[in-house]
């Protein structure tokens, strides 16, 4: 008898183990990812809190999360509702926080978009026009390694205080990387793609728009994504120095007024924004550049 029930049971039990109940495999993977995310951040916060609890860090210098998240309305007073230069602390509130975040994000994306479009344009022009390449390439190679931050004084001299220097710095962060990789990507487009286009009677222009551009976009987009974090770094510096509004200005003011809580609060916001925008770009990549499998596009 027992042997009989044992042979009968596994087939019924096995499928349950395989599907893991009601959740699909994908949903479970997502849930696991989220779970680990919470564990990771939770652990980080916990260690910090423990260090504070055992009085190993000074709460004035390194206030743990529960302290800098405690007085949110107070913290939000430092955020300005308008995008006025050098305007400190009017109103505050959630709307002010969102406005500030929105402006900084706007500067990042405008810079990225302009840098990407101009970078691909110039990169392609350099690839196709020998004369242009001869004239411009040495200068580009000279300028490319200069840190975007070093451009800040130039940006302020030329554009004055305001949005433009911040956008310009983000632009510089991606522009040279895209210019240089565009040529490399075009030359690695499989030659047979171009042969097919030529046999079908495509003009050079058609070949570029319909074959070369789609073939190089995914890896250029990858370059863009890799430079996203760099863009977030320079935008804060630019805002602190050359714009006078935005999250960068808040951080710089917090440092000047020795407000550690505000520093960490803002850092948290910047981290979250960086993460969200990267996630956003990943979605764009998945939806619009679907022909590269995620495995090939990296993490």
């Amino acid at each position: 008898m027992p042997s009989k029930s044992m042979t009968a049971e596994p087939p019924a039990a096995a499928p349950v183990i395989h599907t893991g109940g009601i959740l699909t495999k994908k949903a479970r993977e997502r849930l696991a990812k989220l779970g680990w995310g919470i564990v990771s951040i939770g652990l980080f916060a916990l260690i910090w809190e423990a260090l504070w609890y055992f009085e190993m860090v000074n709460p004035l210098l390194l206030p743990p999360p529960h302290l800098f998240l405690q007085d949110i309305p107070g913290t939000l007073k430092f955020f300005d509702r308008s995008n006025r230069i050098g305007h400190i602390a009017s109103g505050g509130g959630v709307i002010a926080l969102l406005t500030t975040m929105g402006w900084t994000t706007f500067r990042v994306f405008t810079g990225l978009a302009l840098g990407f479009i101009c970078g691909v344009g110039l990169g392609a022009a350099l690839y196709y026009f020998r004369m242009l390449r001869n004239v411009l390439m040495p200068t580009i190679l000279l300028l490319a390694p200069i840190s975007p931050v070093a451009w800040l004084p130039v940006a302020i001299f030329v554009f004055g205080i305001g949005d433009v220097p911040a956008i310009f710095l983000v632009f510089i962060t991606v522009f040279f990387a895209i210019v240089l990789s565009t040529g490399a990507q075009i030359s690695s487009v499989p030659i047979n793609y171009i042969h097919v286009a030529r046999i079908m009677g495509a003009t050079q222009r058609q070949t570029f728009w319909r074959v070369i551009l789609p073939a190089i976009l995914p890896s250029l987009f990858m370059t863009l994504r890799l430079n996203l974090f760099g863009a977030w770094m320079v935008v804060l510096i630019a805002e602190a120095v050359g714009v006078g509004t935005g999250l960068g200005q808040i951080t710089s003011m917090a440092r000047a007024t020795f407000n550690a809580k505000l520093v960490f609060f803002t850092m948290g916001i910047v981290g979250a924004l960086g993460f969200l925008t990267d996630w956003g770009l990943r979605q764009v990549q998945r939806k619009m550049l679907w022909w590269v499998a995620p495995a090939k596009g990296g993490f």
């Binding site: 047979n192 042969h195 097919v196 046999i199 079908m200 319909r210 073939a215």
Partner: protein, 262 residues
């Protein structure tokens, strides 16, 4: 007699790459390919078979001689002369349907008409329910059929294939050969196919052009005088196979000997 579909007259090709010794790939080649004829090019590696296809396609210039299509020298690529590679080279960013409709789009065909033609051709090559798939969702054999469909959509007079089945497994390969004979009969195009497989040559060709080692010249042109489908157990088939094996072995030996001299 009708005018040949492709007329190759005394053609030579020298590849000149900066910083390297020029390579004489083809020398004094003369072949006529009749309309609707199935010609297979067979020869040792590096004897210029691919180079010849590129020149017929108009993707590369001839160094000497002339290649005429319908009596006119070839100066540029044309959709009338389709070329299929060992890799299907479908565009991964387009669906199968859009890949097949690509040439029609270039020729500014109306969108509905494009869809119609491409769908019809895909159905004919047995990919009727793969229209909206991406190329990387298809097997190697299906991809190669889609590449054929893309070329056929242009109604080519000459269809060239450069080792189209070399990357496929044996079973798929046999299926693809049947498939190819079928589209050849349907389309009435001339086919020029490059292969390393003697069996493939015997199963498919009206005539087999055997090349010498580099620089490639015509060593022998062998008409295959057997009704299709050709049975590999047929004594005539064996005779052809022995003959080609002998011809190729001599050329491969020569190619090796030449490499050693250098």
């Amino acid at each position: 007699m009708a005018r040949p579909a492709v007329s190759i007259r005394n053609v030579g090709k020298t590849w000149e790459v900066e910083g390297r010794r020029p390579v004489r790939a083809i020398d004094g080649l003369t072949i006529d390919i009749e309309p609707g004829e199935f010609v297979v090019l067979l020869g040792p590696s590096g004897c210029g078979k691919s180079s010849l296809l590129y020149m017929i396609a108009g993707l590369e210039d001839v160094s000497d001689g002339v290649i005429e299509c319908d009596g006119l020298p070839i100066t540029a690529p044309s959709a009338e002369r389709g070329l299929i590679f060992q890799e299907a080279s479908l565009f991964p960013w387009l669906t199968i349907l859009d890949n097949v409709a690509f040439g029609l789009a270039i020729q500014a065909e109306q969108p509905e008409r494009r869809r119609e033609i491409a769908t019809e051709i895909l159905r004919r090559v047995g990919l009727g329910d793969m229209l909206d798939k991406k190329p990387d969702e298809l097997s190697g054999g299906m991809r190669q059929r889609a590449a054929c469909a893309r070329a056929l959509a242009m109604k080519p007079k000459v269809l060239m294939m450069d080792e189209p089945f070399a990357a496929l497994d044996v079973q798929t390969r046999a299926k693809m050969q049947d498939f190819l004979l079928q589209i050849w009969r349907d389309s009435r195009a001339s086919i020029i196919l490059v292969t390393h497989s003697i069996d493939e040559a015997i199963s498919l060709a009206d005539r087999v052009v055997v090349f010498t080692a580099r620089p490639g010249q015509v060593k022998e042109i062998v008409p295959i005088d057997m009704p299709r489908p050709r049975n590999p157990r047929d004594p005539r088939y064996h005779a052809y196979r022995d003959h080609f094996t002998e011809l190729l072995a001599a050329e491969v030996d020569r190619a090796f000997a030449e490499q050693e001299v250098r």
